[in-house]
Subunit: 615 residues, 2 copies
């Protein structure tokens, strides 16, 4: 901490002291309540474009708001079509084998992968606001569907019921997604932070790769759990069951790929059959479907919205999160009635779409038409799709999901984010996907709560030759002001931190007094609280300030506030704390507060000698 | 919003621009981790007094730390004893009828009220750090014990089992309380805010008063639920059962008081029997006991600590929250082995203790001795305690708990705190005590999360004749700076708000550009983000800043940061964002940033005309 002598601010700055800290103009309760609701649920102000428009224009804008295709279709050009045609056919050629692979991952018939690349893209093309998102199934949601529904029904023993439960879970996921969008609760997805997604994806990929041990080692019996301990117990309890190939794993793996079944099963010609009647809304299955729907729905939504946002950023257009949720939700509700399972905007397929030069959501329509033609005429060809291809697709997708570089970046920049990421990974690998998610979200929320519960308080000092006061730890050349302790509080003062702040501030005062006693210089006279970063205060916080004022008075110190913000001033005024402390002890800047303190310290001795008798 | 022209800062302030925003000196990970842990769990620095002491002195200090009686007993004077004797006898005379009343409220034998005023105060006198807390049972925890254990076991049908469960719940409550203190997790109690307690107490009092309807209306059958709907259904479904007295309620009430049983049952002579062997650790009861122990333990702890702190503040001494928890926890663990149920520091009894002039925790010892003498020799007298007295004590205690003035104060000062209070009240009255607590804590936590998820952003303007920039809503005379948009962000930039901030900031830019277009004046050139109140940033927040930089560049705007704090600078540096934005676009104050922008706007046109071509 700098210990140079305090330099008086130049007199030219004295003029500033004419400004007082303002109490913001009073606002009726209803108005401020309306503003708060608006900022919470409509931060993007979606009605802005409807202002000052005729009713018919408003109707058209409203239709275009819910069906963006009405906005871009009239402007659609042949040039666009050429680009979209190339992109659409490219993603269709990816969609077919990828769809089949992921359907196998989800333990549903392979043909569902094709069905799911036909109806949902059509719905999205009408309602979605992204021009680059390619709709389809995703690895993680497929795996989740298999593992969560698998706890209730064995897909091998009862494939029809399992399939119906998958449709039902998709239906619930769609309802949830659309409701979140309609209720403007899209910010819930924000709680799945980037760090959570990185850890979660890597964990899910690890789990999938572990599940491949069954095939690689040629085991007939295998655990239905996904956690690493169950898998290893299952693997090592059957050492005598390992095929001889496992001894030479590399050779064995190749051999496995060669001797294994070569065909993927029957693929019937024909478009999606109706499946609305297959939805299961009866106990005991509805609870599992609801749970699966909620978790897979949220995960799929987070991926779809993150992917849409990333590409929109590249191409400089805007994505409306809540509108996207409604679009993704609707496509899943419709999909669940037409033999599709959970779809969203997978990163891999959207990246291919983007690279292939797509212009609008029309590329999804092209893909859907290509898949439709395949379903009508070409499915028998896919009967000969080798398992090797599917395995390769799954494994390469999984390896791509383990983004260890992102984890290293998190460690370097933010240890807490790294903890969230590792928490998600360990939770998924050692317990289950739900546990991983809960751990990561819980750590993230604890971080937010800790920020408020344990706010940073720091001592400010005067930067040489200025009237600026800054944290002495960040600016080691900042000079300490004698007789004045300047503290900055870095968070709102709420019930969760008012006890802490009371203790912490009195410790700062104790330490400062000890230090001054040791040097034998002036004693402490003023405590200035810099309230710039205190965004809000509640009644517990105001009580804390009242107690702090009493404590400082008892210790013959004067409490001074610098720059309280609008919300804080409003509440201090309402609670009469302003009258209690006296408006003259509230300053616009720390500099002015220090100047006033020094002025009183050096000039007002005769009149005010009583309380400050040791100057 | 002020719209006056921008006034150039006086040249005398230019000197300030010599300071650069500092990146705090690097700190090894282990050091910063240790500091964070210390600030989170040891904010009061309990080991401070042990510094620079000899080992033997440290041992004595350590003993005194855990048994504060060792500290004050050697200094105990006859003068103190006189005061404590008066206070102790006074609170004993209150403790006996109050104890009996609350024991009836808890559905345990009345004698337990006396037992609980004998052993626990002795334990507290040795371990507690408050000089004013009078130990005893409390109304709310008694009621909670009755209602929560009553769901498992009917106290009337199986009084012995019920009693044993009450001991077990007390034991668990004590374990929880002491563990919270030992693990330095005392801040959990802070999440029960003042507003929660006000609403919860009023709700609990309402429930107790509703339960009195049984007696007042003379009903034999009554619901075991405590919620208002069950009670009213029970009351109004038995209209034909109402005694004729209910017609004239006032007279009936008096009559009821007169005709009701006059005696409270048998009170055996003798001190507390051992009850350690009665603790029930077997299924199915252990779950209920654990749940009851946790909830009553937390509530009792919150009351005890709040009461201790309030009186310590009056008398200007310090209470260590974590130490208090260990003391209260230990007295309940010991109590549960000696036929006591849950005790803490009730407000009413402590207030009497304080007013009677107590000096140390010795007044608790005096009370315990007085109660012991009563137990040994005087209990037969209390056989004749009229029920009227007990009812009067319960009802007056309950009416005191409905603090409607505090609720009005909450409404006036902070609407959100009022919502928490009303949530607790409605939850307790319409559902159950647990539901009320969960509602209030959930609303409180949502408030904290909303503070971070929806941070306030505000436009800053220049205060006339100064280089100070403040919120234009709070200071309507602040002048707008042409061509520069200055935004202040009032919360840390975390995953929970990075999407929101991205949208909100681009809306601010849109609105500003619209406004400038309408006036036909200069176009927007710079966006300055005032980071003073941004206490921290995570990797999602840094990605948001990177995207914001790209967006602003695309719109031919320049992004400028003002006054990022130590944590933020550290992370921006590690993530290479500082290199990306360029250190020259980061300023120490908003004033310097504006000055630099204006300097470039007016002098650098020739060289930099390309991006700023519409100046």
């Amino acid at each position: 901490m700098g210990n140079g002598d305090f330099v008086y601010p130049s007199s030219s700055d004295r003029q500033c002291a004419t400004h007082r800290v303002a109490i913001p103009p009073p606002q009726p309760f209803f108005m401020s309540f309306k503003n708060t609701l608006k900022e919470t649920f409509f931060p993007d102000d979606p009605l802005r474009q409807f202002k000052n428009k005729t009713p018919s224009r408003r109707f058209i804008l409203g239709l275009q708001y819910f069906l963006p295709i009405l906005e871009w279709a009239p402007r659609y050009s042949f040039q666009f079509l050429k680009s979209d045609l190339v992109a659409g056919i490219t993603i269709a050629s990816l969609a077919i084998p990828q769809g089949i692979s992921y359907a196998k991952l989800a333990n549903v018939p392979p043909i569902l992968g094709l069905y799911s690349s036909f109806i949902p893209p059509l719905v999205y093309a009408m309602m979605g606001s992204s021009r680059d998102l390619a709709v389809g199934t995703v690895a993680v949601a497929s795996l989740l569907t298999a593992s969560m529904l698998g706890q209730e029904v064995n897909a091998a023993q009862n494939p029809t019921l399992f399939l119906h439960l998958a449709f039902t879970a998709t239906f619930f996921a769609g309802i949830l997604q659309a409701s979140l969008g309609l209720l403007r609760l899209g910010f819930i997805v924000d709680f799945l932070s980037h760090a959570t997604i990185v850890g979660f994806m890597a964990g899910a990929a690890t789990v999938v790769i572990l599940q491949q041990l069954k095939g690689i080692l040629g085991l007939d019996h295998f655990t239905h759990s996904t956690d690493i301990i169950s898998v290893f117990r299952s693997v090592f309890s059957q050492i005598h069951q390992w095929r001889w190939e496992s001894g030479v794993l590399g050779v064995g793996f190749l051999f496995f790929l060669l001797v294994t079944r070569y065909f993927i099963g029957n693929l019937k010609k024909g478009l999606n059959p109706l499946s609305f009647g297959d939805l299961v809304f009866t106990k005991p299955y509805i609870t599992t479907c609801l749970k699966t729907g909620i978790i897979t729905g949220i995960i799929a939504l987070a991926e779809g919205i993150a992917v849409g946002r990333s590409f929109a950023m590249f191409k400089h257009y805007h994505i409306d999160g809540n509108k996207e949720m409604v679009a993704i939700g609707t496509m899943n509700i419709v999909g669940s009635c037409f033999s599709c399972y959970l779809t969203t905007g997978p990163f891999s397929r959207s990246a291919v779409n983007f690279n292939a030069g797509c212009k609008t959501a029309m590329s999804n329509v092209i893909m859907a038409i290509a898949v439709m033609l395949t379903l009508l005429f070409l499915t028998p060809l896919f009967y000969y799709t080798p398992i090797v291809v599917l395995s390769a697709i799954i494994i390469s997708a999984m390896l791509g999901l383990i983004d260890y570089e992102a984890a290293i970046h998190l460690w370097n920049v933010d240890k807490f984010d790294f903890l969230v990421c590792i928490g998600a990974y360990i939770g998924v690998v050692f317990a289950s996907v739900e546990v991983g998610l809960v751990i990561a979200v819980a750590i993230s929320v604890v971080r937010l709560l800790l920020f408020v519960a344990r706010p940073r308080t720091s001592v400010l000092g005067n930067l040489p030759d200025s009237t600026i006061y800054r944290n002495v730890e960040q600016y080691p050349n900042a000079n300490h002001v004698h007789g004045v302790l300047i503290l900055e509080i870095d968070a709102p003062i709420y019930f969760a931190n008012s006890s802490y702040l009371r203790e912490r501030i009195s410790r700062w005062i104790d330490e400062e007094e000890d230090k001054l006693k040791a040097t034998g210089k002036t004693s402490l006279q003023y405590v200035i609280l810099d309230m710039t970063a205190v965004g809000n205060i509640d009644t517990s916080g105001i009580s804390m300030l009242e107690e702090l004022k009493k404590t400082t008075e008892r210790r013959e110190l004067k409490l001074v506030l610098a720059n309280p913000g609008a919300e804080v001033m409003k509440k201090l005024n309402k609670s009469k704390f302003l009258e209690n402390i006296g408006q003259e002890w509230i300053y616009l800047t720390v500099g002015e507060a220090v100047e006033a303190c020094n002025y009183k310290l050096h000039t007002c001795k005769p009149e005010e000698s009583q309380p400050w008798n040791n100057v």
